[in-house]
Amino acid sequence: MAQLRTGFLVDTSRCIGCRSCQVACKEWNRLEVDKTTHQGTFENPRDLTPNLYNRIRFIEKADGKGGVTWRFVNERCLHCGDAGCMKVCPSPGALYRTTDGIVGFDKEKCIACKYCVSACPFNVPRYGADDKVSKCHLCLDRIGAGMVPACAKACPTQTLQYGGRDALIAKARGSGKKLYGENSLAGLGVLYALEGTPEEYGLPADPSIPTAIFLWKDVLKPLGILGFWGSVAAVLVHYVTFGGRKIEEDPAEKGGDAHG
């Protein structure tokens, strides 16, 4: 688990659903346009895509008494401290951790196995026409140059904030909001300040590495290596102890030695 020094905070109480974050990301990363249709909601596109690293989810709910809440939630890679995608990635360097704790990706090293898609508790990595992994990388190039991610820069209401993780946590705590992601998955690099339960924002209440992935990587893999060498050892021990089962020559057998 990496030491998370910088962090990103999504303060949902300030979001006005303007989508500057979606457009700024596309502009900075030179991403293609997604073809969309109007489906009776402002939310568009309806899901992250290989060309949409972050988006706003619109959640409207009637309370049955004439009132309504309308929440806007920024959805993106959360740069988990214990990242499922990194856990399963078989290609070194395709998904990697920076010193700031960001999970970056390198398309040239990606081998398109798509394991990361299954391992992410938040369903983030996407594969496009180039068959390479695609997701938010917190604008590594901008951060390297001392700037903040494009989405945070464009956000007009300071909903998206980049900075020291501890400082962001302290600030969010100070304003009395509920913090999401402080300790899950060894601490998420992207935290949320919520005014309700995680479910109300479409976030899993207790995110963790999917069980099957955990079993595969943390149980099966080590046991497997043990098992393989175990059978090799068993076989060697057996040979040394009992030897092979030799067949005596039967003098009654006549005939050539060659196989017919």
Binding site: I16, V23, T37, G40, T41, A62, V68, F72
Partner: protein
């Protein structure tokens, strides 16, 4: 705005009504959130639960077109519960004025005010006059008890706006009304302030002006004018629309809101006589009394040396309106429909989509011999001749398209809602053959000038005599390229001769001659402008913006000593860098702030001035340098732009009444106005009586049973000419949609995402249905009124996205400004395909 954007953070209560800043001013919305961070409460009143409402502490639904009922109820609540700030109401408004006994209000006169002529559809305001004493001074009752005083007349007028009555008109539940009234009314305390943020949701109605008047009355009652976190704040819709009205782009004003002369004022003297308010009150500064200095300086700016005392400073060359003519947008296109124009410049606009009753506009364009459109992209106006239902073979209009540069390809100033003129440099050069508007105008000017020189014309003087010193003049007299700094400097103005300080009336001439300004220098402020032709100034309210010190609009100083966010060294605000207007109403008669913690200005009696005198204002630029009103010798009243120096609770200068009164929109869902016998605003111009089929309207018509409103979305810009050409924006909101309630969807058998058709008496539009609980039906009297809403950012030029919502809107406008009523009209909706 009377205040400015950053000031919103100082408010204890922010009332968002008639606006949707989260969606239309997303960057500025941060200041509303700061107000919330500082413990303030946000109230949002809107027919829809918008993205602004999602951040509000209180949301109140409101039937489109019923804002005056809502606000009238608030006025009544403030009066009944004594929430008003007594001293400032008494001293700083006309609440104490006694009105003529002939005056009758709608409560007595079947929904009308006294003096109405039904044939002319206009009021004679004689009965709205004040009682005068023998010396022609207005009679007052400072105790505010006389039944004919403004205060009591107001109380009587708004006594009819009970919560039950208001609720049955607006459809807002009574408990919500009271919650809003109580919360906002709490800002009547001296240490609390409330700000009003409004936009087209208030102005685009037949009662638009009166909507704002109603809020002005509330702000005056609560003492929220001139204070930090207060004010009447229009959220301007286009980035530089504030600049455009400042510089006189509307039909009725010259730069600086100076009235355009009408043809029945043939001389400058007659003009000055008509348009200069007079007062005998020594305590009233009556700043518009300086009108002659501004009109003369303006004429000197544009006509230079050719404007002399002998030729009335070229006044004869100023275009004049026909008396009584009001060539607003609606009138222009009506005239065009009747074939009155040969040619038309559609400059930086897309009337085929932005004009109310767009079908009428599109048809009108076909009557033209020629049209020049100046824009960045091809659009519904430039290509009207091949629009749906138009046969190009039958259109005889020759259309020219001049490609224009975008705002970031040009240097210049943009004035925001808060009156801050912020100078910007160009980020890139214009693409291809596109040019900045100034260059296009420059080329056009010299071409027309050459044609006049060669061929003569009916009246070439107004154009031929212009100075046009906007850049290096070549040997042939033409300007090759416009230097925008030269324009800005001319707007600021200069001394055309050495100007001496003139003695004050009744005072002896000073011993030493003191120069106000030297010949050739930039003017330092409009107080230095002269009426004798020795100064020039292209726009008196911008005088100081580019003074001898340089381009103040380009400043980027971040000092904020008061902590109120005035940022007086960041750019330059008109007038004279005053950040909060009427700030002398924020202090008591002695100059002590009503709210010491958030003082905008305060009078420091011990400050020593350079000339040895004692006493000056600290803080923001005071709204008038004179001592506070309590100073008997030199004190002045705080509302210096009004002839009598006080704010108007009673406003006899408007066409439709001195008190705002609720009338229904032209097309409305109720047979009768619940409040009175007068259903609609009696002073609006009825285009429907003009004989054009397009001006049809349908009220209480079973064919169009639902109220519709139109609006913008964050993701698109105006009619969409720019944003429909931006794929990343089209991705967000790809086509025309209509928001409808779950209840209405059920009635019409519609599901979310279904294709639908919305129709009005004038046209129809295809859209995708957005079925949402954020739209709710209104309980009006005993019936249910459904409302729908749609944006107006789409047009046929982009295939497959739907056409303009303005195909549905009516030809009717506000009684005073004629801004079209696009926020409340009647439609039907049905499934399509």
């Amino acid at each position: 705005m009377t205040n400015h954007w950053i000031d919103v953070k100082n408010a204890n209560v922010v009332l968002i009504m008639g606006a949707n800043p989260a969606e239309n001013h997303p960057v500025a919305f941060r200041w509303i959130l700061r107000a919330k961070d500082n413990g303030g409460k946000i109230i949002c009143v809107d027919p829809r639960f918008t993205r602004s409402a999602s951040k509000a502490d209180i949301y109140a639904p409101l039937r489109p077109g019923t804002d005056i009922a809502f606000l009238g109820g608030m006025i009544r609540h403030i009066l009944e519960n004594k929430l008003y700030q007594e001293e400032s109401v008494r001293k700083y408004t006309n609440a104490s004025y006694l009105v003529s006994p002939e005056f009758k209000g709608p409560g007595d006169a079947a929904g009308l005010f006294s003096g109405y002529d039904p044939k002319k559809k206009a009021y004679d305001p004689k009965s709205w006059g004040y009682q005068k004493d023998a010396e022609e001074k207005v009679r007052k009752d400072e105790t505010l008890k006389d039944p004919l005083c403004v205060f009591q007349l107001m109380r009587k007028h708004y006594s009819r706006y009970t919560p039950e009555m208001v609720s049955s008109i607006t459809g807002t539940p009574v408990e919500t009304l009271l919650k809003v009234y109580e919360t906002y009314g709490s800002t009547g305390k001296p240490d609390r302030s409330g700000t009003s943020l409004y936009a087209m949701g208030w102005t685009q109605h037949t009662v638009g002006t009166q909507n704002i008047r109603a809020m002005s009355i509330i702000q005056l009652l609560l003492g929220n004018m001139g204070v930090a976190g207060g004010g009447i704040n229009a959220l301007r819709g286009e980035s530089n629309v504030q600049g455009s009205t400042d510089h006189g782009l509307l039909f009725h004003i010259l730069p600086g809101y100076v009235p355009v002369p009408s043809a029945d004022l043939p001389t400058l003297e007659k003009y000055v006589e008509k348009h200069t308010p007079k007062t005998k009150d020594p305590a009233s500064a009556n700043w518009n009394g300086n009108r002659n200095k501004y009109i003369t300086s303006y004429l000197k700016a544009i006509y230079g040396a050719k404007a002399t005392k002998e030729n009335d400073f070229g006044y004869a060359w100023l275009p004049k309106l026909d008396p009584g003519m009001a060539p607003s947008w609606l009138v222009l296109f009506d005239n065009m429909s009747r074939g009155k124009y040969k040619g038309f410049f559609a400059w930086g606009q897309n009337p085929a989509c932005s004009g109310s009753n767009a079908g009428k506009v599109r048809k009108a364009l076909g009557t033209l011999e020629w049209m020049v459109t100046v824009n960045l992209f091809d659009n519904e106006t430039a290509s009207f001749w091949k629009g749906p239902g138009t046969d190009p073979a039958k259109v005889n209009t020759e259309v020219f398209f001049l490609p224009a540069a975008a705002s970031f390809e040009k240097e210049g100033s943009i004035t925001n809602s808060g009156r801050w003129a912020q100078w910007r440099t160009a980020a890139l050069k214009p693409l291809g053959q596109s040019k900045p508007d100034a260059e296009i105008m420059n080329d056009l000017f010299f071409k027309v000038k050459a044609l006049y020189a060669k061929e003569g014309g009916a009246f070439p003087d107004p154009l031929m005599n212009l100075t046009w010193n906007y850049g290096f003049k070549r040997a042939d007299g033409t300007v090759r390229s416009v230097d925008v700094h030269a324009v800005a400097k001319e707007i600021n103005g200069a001394f055309l001769a050495d100007v001496e300080e003139k003695p004050k009336p009744g005072q002896p001439a000073p011993k030493e001659k003191k120069l106000v300004g030297k010949k050739g220098e930039q003017v330092g402020g409009f107080a230095q402008l002269q009426a004798d032709g020795t100064t020039s100034c292209g726009n008196w309210i911008y005088c100081q913006s580019y003074n001898q010190g340089g381009n103040l609009m380009a400043r980027r100083g971040k000092k904020d000593p008061t902590g109120l966010g005035l940022f007086s060294e960041w750019s330059w605000a008109w007038p004279v860098n005053r950040r909060i207007l009427y700030n002398r109403a924020s202090v008591d008669l002695a100059g002590k702030p009503y709210n010491v913690k958030k003082a905008v200005v305060y009078w420091n009696p011990n400050a020593v001035l350079p000339d040895g005198k004692l006493g000056k204002w600290e803080g923001d630029v005071p709204d008038g340098p004179w001592p506070p009103m309590g100073d008997e010798k030199e004190g002045k009243k705080p509302y210096i732009m009004r002839a009598d120096g006080v704010a108007a609770i009673f406003g006899p200068g408007l066409k439709d009444g001195p008190f705002p009164e609720h009338y229904e929109p032209l097309e409305c869902p109720v047979q009768e106005n619940l409040l009175s016998k007068q259903r609609i605003n009696p002073a609006v111009r009825m285009f429907s009586e003009g004989g054009l089929a397009e001006d049809v309207f349908a009220t209480c018509d079973t064919r169009y049973p639902y109220v519709a409103t139109t609006y913008r979305v964050t993701e698109h810009w105006q009619t969409g000419v720019l944003s429909r050409n931006m794929p990343w924006l089209m991705e967000l909101v790809p086509r025309q949609f209509v928001e409808i309630s779950v209840e209405l969807a059920k009635e019409k058998n519609l599901k979310n995402g279904d294709p639908v058709e919305i129709s009005s008496a004038r046209g129809k539009v295809e859209a995708v249905a957005m079925v949402t609980p954020r739209m709710r039906p209104f309980k009006v009297a005993n019936s249910t009124v459904h409302a729908v809403g749609l944006p107006w950012c789409f047009g046929w030029f982009t295939p497959g996205v739907g056409d303009s919502a303005n195909l549905l809107t009516p030809t009717v406008g506000d009684a005073n400004t004629m801004i079209p009523e696009t926020k409340a009209f009647m439609v039907n909706i049905k499934a399509r395909g």
